[in-house]
Symmetry: C2
Subunit: 313 residues, 2 copies
């Protein structure tokens, strides 16, 4: 499968594993890269020195390209960027902020830069900032989402038409059918999160992985519209958050309810009631916890099967 994205990153398949807090350390990222996709270390839950350790272990575990995801809203984003450059990583995905602040520095260091965007306006900004590609992320994705709530189906073709740089689709992509659908919409690659979170190599807590496997089509909710949208699986905390919003709580009350450690509590510590168990709407399609190699083979098989089924006019 050759696309602009496989050529950009010099990878075999246009399948990127999303950088996810508490989920994607060196084990997951190197496993994905070893299968011919692009693994991303999610630095969002790491201090700079822990990121350095993950990068070093990842380099020791694969000689294929891999990258680092850096959420730019982090107070220590400067340091995360510095560590990434120091360690010779050549692919950076940024999110939650404006990539312009770092694009010149990253480019000087021959780093390919991709920014995650929820609409055309931010896509154009990323392009102007010199990004090599964007990830267009639909509101079906787990975790943080854009306020406009554009879905993958609506967002991707509009981004493709508006931009000159390639678009990677994210949000709701869970199996080979989803990969084929994303490429049909004009994407040059896909970024998959939740499906990779429920693999052996994912560093998430077992309770979190099992909750993904046990969840059905309507088992995620979108909460915190007023203070920053998050999609997560239904549990006590998630349902209380939705109810609070319905009741018209103000921003301060909602921020207090949300707290600052909910992702760690849910995804890393496995608290099924009070943690933020972030996941996308595709959870209902996830029925097991395979290793990355099995999953990759399955994704490619499903892609080919779906491609063969398409009717020709």
């Amino acid at each position: 499968m050759i696309t602009k994205i496989t050529r950009l990153f010099n990878i075999q398949h246009p399948i990127i594993q999303a950088g996810m807090v508490w989920v994607s350390g060196w084990k997951l990222a190197s496993a994905v890269s070893n299968c011919g996709g692009l693994g991303l270390i999610g630095s969002g839950s790491m201090k700079p020195e822990l990121l350095r350790e993950h990068i070093q272990k990842c380099k020791a575990s694969t000689d294929k390209p891999f990258g680092v995801n850096i959420p730019l809203l982090r107070g220590d984003a400067d340091e995360l960027v510095r560590v990434t450059i120091d360690e010779g990583v050549k692919i950076v995905f940024t999110s939650a902020g404006h990539p312009k602040k770092y694009s010149a520095l990253l480019k000087e260091n021959q780093i390919k830069l991709v920014h995650v965007v929820p609409n055309i306006k931010y896509g154009l900004k990323a392009q102007e900032a010199g990004c090599d590609a964007v990830v267009g992320e639909g509101v079906e994705a787990g975790g943080h989402n854009g306020a406009d709530q554009l879905t993958t189906f609506a967002l991707i073709p509009q981004l493709v038409d508006a931009l000159d740089i390639p678009v990677i689709a994210a949000g709701g992509i869970t199996d080979g059918r989803g990969i084929l659908a994303a490429l049909s919409l004009g994407a040059e690659g896909v970024q998959i999160g939740t499906r990779f979170a429920a693999t052996i190599e994912s560093s998430a807590h077992e309770n979190y992985k099992k909750k993904i496997v046990g969840s059905g089509d309507v088992d995620t909710v979108l909460a915190f519209r007023k203070i920053g949208l998050v999609r997560m699986m239904k549990n006590d905390f998630a349902l209380r958050s939705v109810k609070a919003e319905f009741e018209g709580w103000n921003e301060n009350e909602l921020k207090e309810l949300r707290g600052t450690k909910r992702e760690q509590l849910g995804i890393f510590e496995g608290d099924e009631n009070e943690g933020a168990m972030e996941a996308g709407q595709g959870v209902g399609l996830i029925k097991d916890i395979p290793n990355v190699k099995e999953l990759f083979e399955r994704l490619l098989f499903e892609y080919e099967s779906a491609l063969k089924r398409l009717p020709t006019p």
Copy 2:
């Protein structure tokens, strides 16, 4: 393009034009059917005798199959069903209610029955009620939406896996790329709304059609979560509705704000400020108001082009 849906309805292309209030009368439905798709008369904005007139004019304008969409929540749904049977229509799409009430009667009259569903639970109910297919409608669709807010990308493959009857995808499908993506996800056909609303043959007001053409990616909102979700284009009424929800208005206050004639005011009378200008998130892809024949040729061309671009492993 042969699929289970083209065989079910004996049509040439698996492209169904959604039954839309104030938009899809006999002119639009017969034009779509004459192009080899399936046109649907939207009875939601018609009294029974007006529906009869539209069916008769549609029969006079095409000898191809066409259908009627009946929203089951209507107080006079019984009469709409009776008129449809009387006039010999052989395809009925139902929405907003439980199809079981009418399925035996419709089946006795050799009518193919399709129900619109937003999740697996209602899909299974429709299948048990004897429906021949379902429309799975994602939250990117214009107009009324399911409370779970499943997107097309997440909903369609989950429905396909859960049901034995064929699934038609709806929500955000606006061009040939979208058709290809929907079939990639496992759908056997597509139902397209907003794109057909902005055609010459659509009976909507010119102001409404022009607003679709002038709207971009982030120009629709989802309002009235508490009393029944609706997606519409941003205007004074829509933004006021969203603000009211943020402020925590109660159900009665919201119902009063919504009123009962907003769709007529917006779509039929063309009130750009105070009407409900219902439309899907694909509006940003719509740049003109073609006739149905031109549109059909374009959709098929785009489908073929997108199919040719897909990488093979």
